[in-house]
C-alpha cells in the first residue's frame, strides 16, 4: 500500500493489509498527533487497510505559539 506523508511531502510503500493503529505504530508515529485519511475521509483506528490502499497520514500539530496577554 502507498502512504503519503507531509513535512516534507513524500510517499512510501508499506506492506499491507494492516490495521490503522498498527500502521502508525510501524511508522513510529504518535496516534495522538496523527490522523489517517483515505479519499478525503477519516479512517478509524481499527480499520484494516488493504494491500493496494492509498492513504495520507496527516500530522495535526500546529506550529508557532506566543504568549497572549492584554498588555
Amino acid at each position: 500500500m502507498r502512504v503519503q506523508l507531509r513535512n516534507p511531502t513524500r510517499e512510501i510503500e508499506v506492506d499491507g493489509p494492516v490495521e490503522v493503529s498498527v500502521l502508525l505504530r510501524r511508522l513510529g508515529l504518535n496516534r495522538e498527533s496523527h490522523l489517517v485519511v483515505e479519499d478525503g475521509l477519516l479512517v478509524p483506528a481499527d480499520k484494516m487497510l488493504g494491500k493496494f490502499a492509498v492513504v495520507e497520514v496527516r500530522s495535526v500539530i500546529s506550529g508557532g505559539s506566543d504568549q497572549v496577554s492584554n498588555s
Binding site: 498527533s33 490522523l35 478509524p44 505559539s65
Partner: protein, 319 residues
C-alpha cells in the same frame, strides 16, 4: 469500534473520554465541549458580536464553524503575514470558507498596509518570527475589534496549545505569565475581550472536526515555525498522553482550578501600568509609542529597497 452514543459504526476514538464516536456524535461532542467552555468561563453572551481570528488552518476555521453552529454572530478577520506562498495559500483557504457560507471576512496585510512582513519584522526587532507575528496579530486583532464594534476576539487556541504554553511557563517559572494564562481575558483599558472557546478540544479533535465537516483547511505548517520550542513541548505532552490518556486535560484544567489563582498577584497585576493612547495609532499602551508601532518603525527601516543593478552588474549586462 462502536459509537458510545448510538452504537453505530464509530469513526474516531477519543481516549481521554474513553469513548468512540460516529461522525454525527463526534461533531456534537465538539460543539458541546465548546459550549461548555463558553459557559464555564463566561466567555460570551448570546448577543455578543464576535470577531474570529482566522488563519485558514484547522483550529480557526473550526472555531468559526462551531461558534456559528452555536448561534453566535461571528465574522472573520485574516491578517496576511507576508510569508512567501504560505500566506497566499492560507488566505485562499480562509476566503473559500467564508465565501462558501456567505460570511464576512475582513482582511488586512502586514506588508501592504504596514510596510513590513513577519520575517523583516522579526529580524529588525531581534525577535523570533513567532514573537513578531504574535505581537502584530494581537495589536491588529484588537484594533479590528475596536473599529468594528465587536464584543470579543475569538481565537482557535486549543488544549494542546494551552498545555504546551503552560509547560513552557512552568519549565521557566514565568509566574507573571502563569497568572494570565486563562481561557478568557476580560475587556478593559481599551482592549477587547479575548476568548479561547476550543480549550476543551485537542488538535486531533479540530482536525477530525474539519475532515468530517468537509472544511478545506491549510494542512501545511507555517515555514517560520520550524524549531519553535512549543512544538517540542507538544510532542512531549503527546508522548505522555499516549501512555496516559487525559493527562493534557488534567494538566491544564487542574492548573486553572487549583493553581492559576495563586499567580494572579504575580507580575504586579494589582498595580497594572497606567495606559494612555499610543502617540502613533491611539491604541492603549504603557509607553508613548505602543509595541506594534515601535516594531513597525524598526521593521520598515530594515526592509530592503530596490536600488537597481550595481555598477559591476551593469557592466556585465553591457558586455
Amino acid at each position: 469500534m462502536k459509537c458510545q452514543v448510538c452504537r453505530g459504526p464509530a469513526i474516531i476514538d477519543v481516549r481521554r473520554h474513553n469513548a468512540n464516536f460516529c461522525p454525527e456524535h463526534f461533531l456534537r461532542l465538539c460543539r458541546d465541549q465548546t459550549a461548555k467552555s463558553i459557559k464555564q468561563f463566561e466567555m460570551l453572551e448570546p448577543s455578543d458580536r464576535v470577531l474570529v481570528a482566522v488563519s485558514g488552518g484547522k483550529d480557526s476555521l473550526a472555531v468559526w464553524d462551531i461558534l456559528l453552529a452555536l448561534g453566535y454572530e461571528a465574522d472573520g478577520y485574516y491578517l496576511g503575514l507576508g510569508i512567501e506562498d504560505y500566506s497566499d495559500t492560507s488566505l485562499d483557504h480562509a476566503r473559500r470558507f467564508a465565501e462558501g457560507r456567505g460570511l464576512t471576512l475582513h482582511t488586512e496585510d502586514l506588508l501592504r498596509h504596514h510596510g513590513f512582513d513577519v520575517l523583516h519584522g522579526s529580524r529588525a526587532a531581534k525577535r523570533v518570527p513567532c514573537s513578531a507575528c504574535g505581537l502584530s496579530k494581537r495589536h491588529l486583532f484588537d484594533e479590528a475589534a475596536r473599529n468594528g464594534g465587536y464584543d470579543a476576539v475569538a481565537t482557535g487556541h486549543n488544549l494542546d496549545d494551552e498545555a504546551a504554553v503552560l509547560m513552557g511557563n512552568v519549565l521557566h517559572w514565568q509566574t507573571d505569565y502563569l497568572g494570565r494564562q486563562l481561557p478568557v481575558l476580560a475587556a478593559g483599558n481599551g482592549f477587547p475581550k479575548k476568548v479561547k472557546p476550543l480549550v476543551r478540544l485537542t488538535e486531533r479533535d479540530t482536525a477530525a472536526y474539519c475532515l468530517i465537516r468537509g472544511i478545506d483547511y491549510l494542512v501545511d505548517e507555517c515555514p517560520m515555525s520550524v524549531g519553535n520550542k512549543h512544538l517540542s513541548y507538544k510532542s512531549a505532552l503527546n508522548d505522555i498522553e499516549n501512555d496516559s490518556p487525559g493527562a493534557k486535560h488534567a494538566f491544564y484544567f487542574k492548573f486553572l482550578a487549583q493553581a492559576a489563582g495563586r499567580f494572579s498577584d504575580h507580575g504586579d497585576h494589582e498595580n497594572p501600568p497606567v495606559l494612555s493612547p499610543c502617540e502613533r495609532c491611539g491604541a492603549p499602551s504603557s509607553n508613548q509609542i505602543c509595541a506594534f508601532c515601535a516594531l513597525t518603525e524598526r521593521a520598515t527601516a530594515a526592509v530592503p529597497i530596490e536600488i537597481g543593478p550595481t555598477r559591476s552588474r551593469r557592466r556585465r549586462v553591457q558586455r
